[in-house]
Symmetry: C2
Subunit: 329 residues, 2 copies
DNA sequence: ATGTAAAATGTAAACGTTTACATTTAACTA
DNA sequence: TAGTTAAATGTAAACGTTTACATTTTACAT
């Protein structure tokens, strides 16, 4: 079967220890020996058995990346950013969407205890206490993306949801002169959603503007329904700020159906700047976040933790947000 | 540190062999022993060391998934499908985009030789011979997505590019009555692109319709440029069939700029049915493929190969395509 | 040449499981 | 009750590396 270190050693007429050293670039082996070993290894098409390596080193070169679901554009960007950085550090990325048949809690328990992974990146917009308790017991470093802003116990990479929502709301009120605003929220336990709502509310208060809140769950359908509810009220809002672009699209769908005009009759704003947003008619005014940066930062932070296991203070990184002004407001 | 099988054994007053058997549900251990061991394992929060397991079994529970790039909507769906199936079989998905600093060939060599993976799914729309040669030497099962249709040496899961393009072209000619068509191709070595072009050409010939081919590379920008070239000709096409939706969007961009009308002056068709397509104005007529199915099939096929190592004939699965008729034609 | 220190290489244990084979225990049979 | 067989458990080797420690070789000073 596959060549092992033994065969390389025997052909090179050295011990396996020397082969091991040569392959790991230990400065103690002479140039000639090193060269001879590499030549023979190549000839035999020998590649170290990573399974054995990871095992004996008691440390794997695998990083887990748990995502709530992996269909979303957002998550794709995260995967890409994470993978790119990790790969350059010699680690592989193991992705897992939260699987139907297993709770997130169980999945985390498995991942943090089975020694398969050197670290874990967890994208958890709705981190629950039962999960947190499990994370605290973890034997491997963990970096959180997007969890509770009050969370001090873990390294955390976050979107600047509050700031983004605040700025957008300010824009709607101050620059565009809308009063009577409405906000479509995300799922009630989703922390991104909560922070966005907070930013919205705070700006409305600051600028003394009337507002209302309509529940949603980040899906297109809930955007449709929420928009309908809002526009059927007697005191209908002049502008609807959807908690994410997908719900904004749901708003478009409903508004198109009624024949109303965006932004003349209702203005719509979103959050995320997904690809489709620039191609809607009218194009959607929204908040953009550098998502790939988040993935990269998460990976970088995790590698730091893995390498210097130090209990240095937990890191918090906030990806800044940026208003993307288009035609829908 | 973490509990090992030894501690469980000593607390349960049995040998580690019995513990191992109990954990693997070997029918030879009595109910009582089994129960006792599981109880103690739970108490100690013992989880088998997967690295040791994989090592001693000489077989990992990791499947590699190599993607040309992972930002695309297409690839996301593939990942999702693959992950879902693999997880239910007890395998984890290790994703790797083709990394800047390493050639695909080297990456495959590493993955197929380092014993880290039990199998490999390779999405390679432009498989080269140098890569094929490496794959043939692989020590682990490999399933290809989307490679050369003449490829008989590997299990292969493919899109029905030819059929989809043929049907779309037929629709443009027969149903819509367009003559003078143009096709925007994908990258020259991309097999999907090649098959789509073939389907287009064959339908044009079959129905005796004039056509031209304009080069492209699947990017929005190349769609813009290709569209411009086509529309600036004296004999400009009545309909442009873009090799993928992204290039169709590029066409829209150019046409919008010129103020021409879709579909009254030029009709546009795409391929892929990415999310944005339904929201373009006018909405894009395109070809839809069940991408998630492809991922699932690839995973299923790979697991079959891993479990019954048989040299049964290579499998070819073709995901069927479906015309999505909207407003752009 | 001889001694000494440094450099290079070798030896063997260890990592935590699984599993072939050996042994003990339990369950019948006559 | 002893003998036989099947069931349950135990013993120890193996998997392919890395690495602490031991040994050999080399280089250099005397």
């Amino acid at each position: 079967m596959a060549a092992t270190i033994k065969e390389v050693a025997s052909q090179a007429k050295v011990s396996i220890a020397t082969v091991s050293r040569a392959l790991n670039n230990d400065p103690r082996v002479t140039k000639e020996t090193h060269h001879k070993i590499l030549t023979i290894a190549k000839k035999l098409n020998y590649k170290p058995n990573e399974l054995a390596r990871n095992f004996v080193r008691q440390k794997s070169n695998l990083i887990g990346l748990i995502l709530p679901e992996i269909s979303d554009e957002f998550f794709t960007e995260v995967i890409k950013g994470v993978d790119e950085v990790l790969y350059n550090y010699g680690y592989y990325t193991l992705v897992a969407s939260s699987h139907k048949y297993k709770s997130l809690r169980d999945e985390i328990i498995a991942f943090t205890n089975n020694r398969l992974l050197a670290g874990l990146i967890l994208l958890a917009p709705d981190l629950k206490l039962t999960v947190e308790e499990v994370l605290l017991k973890s034997k491997i470093p963990i970096v959180l993306i997007n969890s509770d802003p009050n969370q001090q116990k873990f390294d955390r990479i976050a979107l600047d949801n509050f700031e983004g929502a605040y700025e957008m709301t300010k824009y709607l009120i101050e620059t565009k002169g809308y009063n009577n605003l409405a906000f479509l929220t995300g799922p009630s336990n989703n922390i991104d959603a909560g922070m966005r709502e907070k930013g919205f509310v705070e700006a409305c208060r600051k600028y003394n503007t009337g507002y209302s809140i309509e529940p949603g769950d980040f899906t297109k359908e809930s955007g449709f329904k929420g928009c309908k509810n809002l526009l059927l009220r007697e005191n209908r809002p002049r502008a609807i700020f959807a908690g994410n672009d997908m719900m904004a699209i749901g708003c478009y769908d409903y508004i198109w159906k009624t024949g109303m005009k965006i932004p003349e009759e209702v203005a719509i704003a979103g959050f995320d700047d997904i690809f489709v947003s620039q191609y809607l008619s009218p194009s959607l005014t929204t908040v953009r976040i550098q998502i790939e940066e988040i993935g990269k930062h998460a990976a970088d932070t995790l590698i730091q933790r893995i390498n210097n296991d130090s209990d240095s203070p937990k890191v918090v990184f906030k990806a800044s947000s940026e208003l993307v002004i288009r035609e829908s407001c």
